[in-house]
Amino acid sequence: MEQLDKFRELMRRDRVFDFMMPDQMPAVDVSHEVLLYVEGLTVSFDGFKALNDLNLYIDDGELRCLIGANGAGKTTLMDVITGKTQPDSGMAYFGQTHNLLNKNESDIATLGIGRKFQKPTVFEQHTVFENLELSLRMSKAILASIFYRMSSEQSDRIADVLDIIGLSKQSNQLAGALSHGQKQWLEIGMLLVSDPRLLLVDEPVAGMTPQETEHTAELLTSLAGERTVVVVEHDMAFVRSIAKKVTVLHQGFVLAEGNMDEIQNNPDVIEVYLGESQ
């Protein structure tokens, strides 16, 4: 039976094989104004439920903050959305049509979901410029890469981003030689040049100076509207400075959702999360 289903899947006329797909950015259907649907998501590791029947809806163009104690499931949620982890059950849709759970990391990235990791991961043996070049939104096919020549718009775009992230001077330096904060910036820059529809930003201000934090807050706020941004952060002051809507995760499910004031007055939240910090 399973075989038959697979065969049917293979023979579907409305699809073509992956390798025959035209190399272009797929359109995202946001006719219902929701960009990301996450429903009933459950992930368990050896009996421990990292996500427990989690539901989350992100509107198109929204800036959303996710907060929660360690182990609340923030990073696991991002892992599921970006294809790194397969959930035990539940669904995750990007727009109306794209099921994220049957796609791998690169497909999801191509759809327009960009991610900044908790621990900054850049290509340390490449220069800052090359890091950005690799992240450019363009065909990621092999032949295209071999015969790739950078267009002037693209180099302008990279120059712009270098300016935004303040690494113009370090453009030809190996990324491995950057400081921790600079790496954070570079990774944000890599997100920016990839021109994503949805940005998942995991702890962007860890290791940054107050000025840099402020700068980041400005940048993220300016991105919202045009793009959709989901920020995971521990720094409550930072969250307060950017957030319109906050979601609190606790032990793998959504504990509360609303604006910052509502959250701060929510008795459940006070008990399990904010209560501890005050």
């Binding site: 590791f45 050896d46 421990f48 990292a50």
Partner: protein, 567 residues
């Protein structure tokens, strides 16, 4: 390059050893083997000299035609020396020394047949070296041989030793003339031992197949249906003989049908026991794989590095056995027992040296570690070649490990394989205990799950690495001791095992001892079942292909480590 799986079956088949229970006990209670090694020295008790001596002394001077009379007289004696005497005589190994007319039995040819080692018949002392020119054969003719065989049959059939009686019945089975049948029947009267009695019934039933009475024949076929003794099968085939046109020689259709169904039953049983035997071979191969892989599994699981010199540690273990055996050539059994801890210590120390000398400098660079340890394996191999010669060395198998456990005529399990299966399970159990119950085990598990965290709580991860490596290498050494009992000990011994061991670890799941156990035994059994169909080499290739495909489906093996730490 040696081919491990194809070359591996080098067991020494010594038929008809049945004292299994005694041997099993001696094996498990390891100390006892020492006693069994020593107790070989026999106390020589001298029976009072009687007419036996006179008769034997008479033999050199008796003419051939009168020898029969002497033999008849000897038959009346109940002397333990009688049986070897008769046996030597019938085999033409009874001689006398020309000078003093002492009767001797030849044991062994020396100097290309120009001399012999012999035993004196009367006082049973050994003569280490006697020239052929100094002795003369006591000749026998066919008639005498016949008389002797009968006498031997009688002697053994009524012997005190039930094993000897059993052997005698077995011997008679190939020659069931009326005289032997009478002998068997009379022996059966007084027989108490069930096993011997059973065999006697079997022999008598086989004899009934020759009966002229069809109904007796049919009855015999019915009783013998499903008997695994090879002579039953050949006798049934005689009944089913066909002429050139495919017509049965036998007229009685009913008898043919009975014989056919009996044969089918026998073949079915043989097939079943063949299956069991193959499983057994598979398990024994699996236990070798287990021993070879388990050390690798530990080091790979904890440190994430492949020690390509792991195979050479097996080889060192085997050579340790060889060295210890060379040091104490008269105590083969004991030397194996001593070799186990010795190999563990030697290889463990070498392992620690490897870890301290090479691997600790290559932390976080698993591919370089692989290369460096491979280089080390070349050095170790060449070192062994320089020290011991490139030729294979023979490690002897102690007596209690040779031979086979004869479960029935269709199934024999060789002792060396049996012991290695048991031994590998013991090693596995001990290792499991070490990992679960000792502080080292706790540290090792902590480091393998989260190295940084383990460091943070004060575990000296350097020390744990060295100890883990020592433990894994020591087990490789112990595996080498076991391997020395199965294959030739040579510088290339370990080379072939590294890939196989790695396959087992990958198949079972890294860092999981139970996975390694299941992986080793299932790969061993699968391989042994493929072998008769595809040939040894192709079987090995198929297993490799299978594993490559397997990790498509389960990249982390049968029993993966779960959780975020496994990322």
């Amino acid at each position: 390059m040696e081919l491990s799986w194809s070359e591996y079956p080098k067991f020494k088949r010594v038929p008809k050893r049945t004292a299994f229970s005694k041997n099993l006990v001696t094996a498990i209670i390891l100390i006892a083997t020492w006693i069994s090694g020593v107790s070989c020295v026999q106390a020589s008790d001298q029976p009072p000299e009687t007419s036996f001596k006179e008769l034997v002394d008479k033999m050199p001077s008796t003419k051939l035609k009168n020898l029969s009379k002497v033999v008849t007289d000897l038959e009346q004696e109940s002397d333990p020396r009688l049986l070897p005497l008769f046996e030597s005589l019938v085999e033409g190994k009874l001689y006398y020394v020309k000078s003093d007319k002492t009767v001797i039995m030849l044991n062994q040819e020396l100097d290309d047949g120009k001399a012999f080692r012999a035993t004196q018949v009367l006082d049973q002392t050994t003569i280490e070296h006697i020239a052929k020119s100094d002795i003369k054969k006591i000749r026998v003719n066919n008639k005498l041989r016949k008389q002797l065989r009968k006498a031997i049959a009688k002697l053994t059939l009524f012997s005190e030793d039930s094993n000897q009686r059993l052997a005698a019945v077995e011997k008679l089975m190939s020659d069931l003339n009326s005289e032997n049948i009478t002998l068997l029947k009379s022996a059966k009267e007084s027989e108490q031992n069930n096993a011997v009695l059973e065999k006697m019934n079997l022999a008598l039933n086989i004899a009934l197949l020759d009966s002229n009475d069809k109904s007796i024949q049919k009855q015999a076929v019915k009783t013998l249906s499903g008997e695994l003794h090879p002579s039953v099968r050949s006798r049934l085939n005689v009944i089913l003989e066909q002429d050139a046109n495919g017509e049965y020689l036998e007229d009685d259709k009913q008898l043919i049908a009975l014989a056919e169904s009996a044969l089918v039953k026998i073949d079915g049983k043989l097939e079943f026991y063949g299956f069991i035997e193959r499983v057994f071979f598979g398990l024994s191969l699996g236990s070798v794989l287990l021993l070879a892989a388990i050390g690798l599994s530990i080091t790979f699981g904890v440190m994430g590095v492949i020690n390509m010199a792991h195979g050479e540690l097996l080889m060192l273990g085997a050579y340790t056995t060889y060295v210890i055996q060379t040091l104490m050539p008269n105590h083969i059994g004991l030397s194996i027992i001593i070799a186990i801890p010795a190999a563990f210590v030697v290889c463990g120390l070498v392992g620690i040296a490897i870890e301290r000398g090479i691997i600790q400098f290559l932390k976080g660079r698993p591919l370089e570690t692989l290369l460096a340890t491979f280089g080390l394996s070349l050095i170790l191999q060449q070192a062994v070649r320089s020290i011991f010669s490139p030729l294979n060395r023979q490690v002897s198998t102690p007596e209690w490990m040779s031979g086979a456990l004869q479960i029935n005529p269709g199934l024999a399990l060789t002792y060396n394989r049996l012991y290695i299966i048991i031994f590998s399970l013991i090693v596995f159990a001990v290792l499991l205990l070490v990992m679960k119950k000792t502080a080292l085990g706790l540290y090792v598990r902590a480091v393998s799950q989260n190295r940084d965290m383990a460091k943070a709580v004060g575990i000296r991860s350097d020390w744990v690495d060295a100890m883990t490596f020592g433990l894994g290498s020591g087990i490789a050494g112990v595996a080498g001791v076991a391997l020395s009992q199965l294959t030739n000990v040579g510088p290339n011994l370990g080379q072939a095992y590294i890939i196989d061991s790695f396959m087992v670890v990958v198949f079972g799941g890294v860092g999981n001892l139970w996975g390694t156990l299941v992986g080793a035994f299932s790969l061993g059994v699968v391989n042994k079942f493929l072998e008769p169909v595809t040939g040894a080499v192709l079987a090995q290739i198929l297993v490799l292909v299978f594993i490559v495909l397997f990790i498509q489906k389960r990249p982390r093996g049968l029993f993966p480590q779960k959780g975020r730490s496994a990322e």
